[in-house]
Point group: C2
Chain length 344, copies 2
Amino acid sequence: MLLTDRQELILQVIVDDFIRSAQPIGSRSLSKKEEIKFSSATIRNEMADLEDMGFIEKTHSSSGRIPSEKGYRFYVDNLLLPQKVNRADLVTIKSIFAERIYELEKIVQKSAKILSEMTNYTSIVLGPAVKDNRLKKLQIVPLNKDTAIAIIVTDTGYVENRMFHFPTSIDPSDVEKMVNILNERLAGVPLTNLNSKIYKEIAMLLRQHISSYDTLLNTIMETLNMPAHEKVFFGGKTNILSQPEFNDVEKIRNLMNMIEQEDGLYNLIRKNPAGINVRIGTENDNSAMENCSLITATYSIGEEKLGSIAVLGPTRMEYSRVIGLLQLISTDLSKVLTLLYQNK
Amino acid sequence: MLLTDRQELILQVIVDDFIRSAQPIGSRSLSKKEEIKFSSATIRNEMADLEDMGFIEKTHSSSGRIPSEKGYRFYVDNLLLPQKVNRADLVTIKSIFAERIYELEKIVQKSAKILSEMTNYTSIVLGPAVKDNRLKKLQIVPLNKDTAIAIIVTDTGYVENRMFHFPTSIDPSDVEKMVNILNERLAGVPLTNLNSKIYKEIAMLLRQHISSYDTLLNTIMETLNMPAHEKVFFGGKTNILSQPEFNDVEKIRNLMNMIEQEDGLYNLIRKNPAGINVRIGTENDNSAMENCSLITATYSIGEEKLGSIAVLGPTRMEYSRVIGLLQLISTDLSKVLTLLYQNK
DNA sequence: GTTAGCACTCTATAATAACGAGTGCTAATT
DNA sequence: AATTAGCACTCGTTATTATAGAGTGCTAAC
């Protein structure tokens, strides 16, 4: 055993207390807790050992202790009893799905909003990975002589569009023919495979039927080749600013910048595997996240992983509660989405 | 004349200097300026008068002076020589339009981004007011038995979509018929007028042709009835945080909150008339904007006002430069957009 | 092994002093 | 009559010192 029961108890109480108070915890205040039956001197000895092992730290030589990252890690891995979501929170979460919303994006967005309101932290949701969606329909809407819009609809109801210019001298009927052929052949194909499928199987076919096939196809291909980045939704972007650890303008600037960049957070969240993941402080490999923890969960339709939902808070965040909430929301989300989009 | 030439000169130098240094200006440092030929004592007398009139203020009883809101207002209205945009800035702005981008939204977005980078303030763009767009095409794409997506394309290439559920027992051919009729009759109609036009002119027609017309029409109407709020784009949301006046965590929180809300800013910008407008500090009627100024400009296609582009900075912002930039960008934007979308 | 006792450390807070930038006023100068 | 030099005064800033209090580590007693 790495730690004695008593050391675990003390560590647990320190972390719990610090999460609540944001103040260093001294031996005397610990000794007054009900669950702690030994004297402050004993606690001081144990704390000295815990500090030697790197689980807690002092802010200065005669201060009380605060959890170190290692301490939080141990707490999350070993001491955390996955807290049951309380009734009020349960009701709030169920309300996300009470309204009849059909758009996947909207549901996901609402989840982010409510999650941030419940926790008072910042929530981030990676919207469905569009690239795994399957093509439902491709349409071309001409705007004027040389401009048109290509619209893609996927099976989950995601709509993407892009404007493009026709090459000069294109026969409108050719466009129509082409769109028809593409729709016939490409319905149900995942967006990622569109490109190769077109070149392997359909280019030939098109060449037979359509005169100015080359330029037209290239134009459309370019249009289809959309970034297909998962969209990032936020809830309560500024919530985290009300945490006492962010009373420093420089820290705020760094954090806000990172949140605005989106790319950084996007990558931090995306690389996590399925299920609940906790990344504490520097585990995130990002200087702006030094004082932050990120808890991620994934949601899916059926077996297919769809996206992630995450909470960004201070390292001193309420791990237990947030993990409970995320677990609930992500499974509920998966259930609802599976119900809505599985049978298609 | 409200102010003597000398007073105007002093006010101007104070404002210019304060915009640069963010430090209160004393009589001695003023007297050392080349353009100022009189002694510090004279300046002190003049400054006392300017203060009595409310154009400048002290931060404490023996401090130098800083411009008051009234001072900034006078400066903007009377002392500002609309600065010519310098060559480097000119080149940068032209680069916005160098690439061939066709989507109105993208152009507008890029303008915001570049404007914020040039000024190091926050830029906000109200995207084209979609409600004034005209309908190009309405399409319904069925996803499965009871779900479909309604897609609207407008003449400027804006695409909006909404998912909805069919009422039970709808004949698919009826849907198609209805869409055809709607497209025939509604092409070119501004989105705002869709509702009334449908009820006044088309409801009759539909009733004749389509059996379950009522439920279907209602569903589609609901779908068409989209918020049609102008979209708000931002550039450099956190830029303004690097200004020295925002060294206070509370101020940052308020400001960031307001920016995140979007609604507040949206209304602040939207109510401004065509052309360049400067709103200084409390003129914005928003407590979070107490230390901020907002400069807005409008852009248009042909004669039709389309949207606004704005810069949010501290009251101590570089009015002259920003006004010059906004003037240039907004007219360029109007030109390009007119060229792209006027002839349709 | 546990605890009481105590000297020591460090932060936070307040009080005090010295400095200097800047003002307002008065009297001298132009 | 307008301008300027001179000077006392104000107030923010910075540095210094003192004090209180929370908490520790160590030693010796239980």
